[in-house]
Amino acid sequence: MFQTTENKEVTKVFGLRKILLFGLFFCFAAAFAVAEHEESHEEHAEKEEFDAGKMIMHHIADAHEIHFFTLNEGKENEWHATIPLPIILIGDGGVKLMSSSHFYHGEEIHLDEGHAYAYGDYVMIDEVIYNKDASGDHGIARDSEGSITNSKPLDMSITKTVVGLFLSVFILLWIFISVGKAYKKRGHTQAPKGLQALIEPLVEFAHEQIIIPSVGSKEKAAKFTPFLLSVFFFIWIANLLGLMSFLGGYNVMGSMSVTLVLAFFVFVITNINGNKHYWKHIFAPEGVPFAIKLILVPIEALQILIKPLVLMVRLTANITAGHIIILAFTALIFIFGQSSAVAGYGVGVGSLVFMVFMFFIELLVAFLQAYVFTLLSALYFGSAVEDGHH
């Protein structure tokens, strides 16, 4: 018995130290990766003003390629370290499969909105792929207000975010299936070991500190536990992956599409499991005068939708905001660097310190957002299966 707890303790401490070391490493790596990229911007700055907003958005937004860094930017031997990604388009002409390099190395169109590329029957404007419209300039049709009216094929491309998504899923499955195997093999009579020992307190924490108290009871929570645990670790791993910007800076949980899917699952599970009391609470609250019911019932009914929507927006906004802050500190260096090199280096030291600080905050936020999403989902599930006594 004592041996077991001691082992656990040792692994815990070891794990924490490892995580801190990793955090520090990633932090510097991230700072250097971004700095390296932006250094080339600085040289370029003589010709083109450094646009912090553009740089930040470029790092956060989805793209059809993974861009690591650029060498000799603005010079003749400019070289981009990128991985082109497959583009899959489903439209009237069936399924089209091609490499994104055709776009990026194809015909470039200069537009006010940003970078646009044309290839074959398609134009890509700010990473959105449209069908070419023969009636417009460069195949881009516009209405009287200047908005693009081109039709769009269904873009099923493996974009940067999809790669991040797949990576997260792969890491998630790899960790938890191997841990599951370890549990099957070692049974309940042997102490957890290695990865199993690292994961066990996390699973126990999520299960016993978040899920069971929020849903209400262990029996009620059993039905929701697989979903909630999956969501918790999926969000956490995707967030951590997003912080490793040197891997390409995947902003998985900062994409509305991803959080929308998760929130939709929460919405469906809540309302499928809603019992008599849940619906009664919404549409026929007890002991409320009729006049107030007229106001209360629509609000309560709207909450069915608002709750998951809030989950979605909170997660996306938090993760995106975190990335923006770290990138903003980086941008600060180059904004000051434009006026003078000394100011740039001076601010750079301060910025770097703040970036390291922010990185640790982001490590916390990565966990916190997974925690909050799981906690609130569990609370919603709990309210759906609650026995009626208020």
Binding site: L165, F176, V179, S230
Partner: protein
């Protein structure tokens, strides 16, 4: 424009996420959460059971201990009783033996006394007989010696006669 892209939720990504997340749910439910949570539950039950049985063993131990003490006390009392009984038995046996011995002694003495008396009586009668015989012998001898002398005989007869007259 690019900021709007950030807020947009492209359908392609929604489909990929749904696919990926459903796969995650199905695989993890079967291959991770079930074995992990089951094993944790089993381990908790096992620990609970072990603690409970340890508690029970403790209670049983203390019960055994008190039982032992009770048994010991009982044994001690029993021993006392047995010792007392033995002592009493011993004393009664000794008393009995003494009584029997004294009675026997008395009887022996009595019978000895009787024997002695008997022997004494016998001896006395013997002595009497012998004395009588002796007396007769003596008397015979005396008579013989007396009767051998005539004067004397006459004197005796006279004397006897005198006596008889007197009586």
């Amino acid at each position: 424009m690019i900021l709007l892209n950030l807020l947009a939720a492209p359908l392609g990504l929604i489909i990929w996420t749904s696919l990926a997340f459903i796969i995650v749910l199905v695989l993890l439910k079967k291959l991770a959460w079930k074995p992990i949570l089951n094993t944790l539950q089993e381990r908790n039950d096992f620990i609970d059971k072990s603690l409970k049985s340890a508690e029970e063993a403790k209670v049983q131990m203390s019960q055994l201990k008190s039982d032992n003490e009770k048994l010991l006390a009982e044994a001690r009392v029993e021993r006392e009783k047995m010792l007392k009984e033995a002592r009493e038995t011993k004393e009664s046996i000794i008393a009995e033996a003494k009584k029997t011995a004294s009675a026997e002694g008395e009887r022996l003495v009595n019978s000895a006394r009787e024997e002695i008396e008997k022997e004494k009586a016998k001896a006395m009668s013997d002595i009497k007989t012998q004395v009588a015989a002796l007396s007769i012998d003596i008397a015979e001898k005396v008579l013989r010696s007396e009767l051998s002398n005539k004067d004397k005989q006459a004197e005796i007869v006279e004397e006897h006669l005198k006596q008889s007259q007197l009586s």
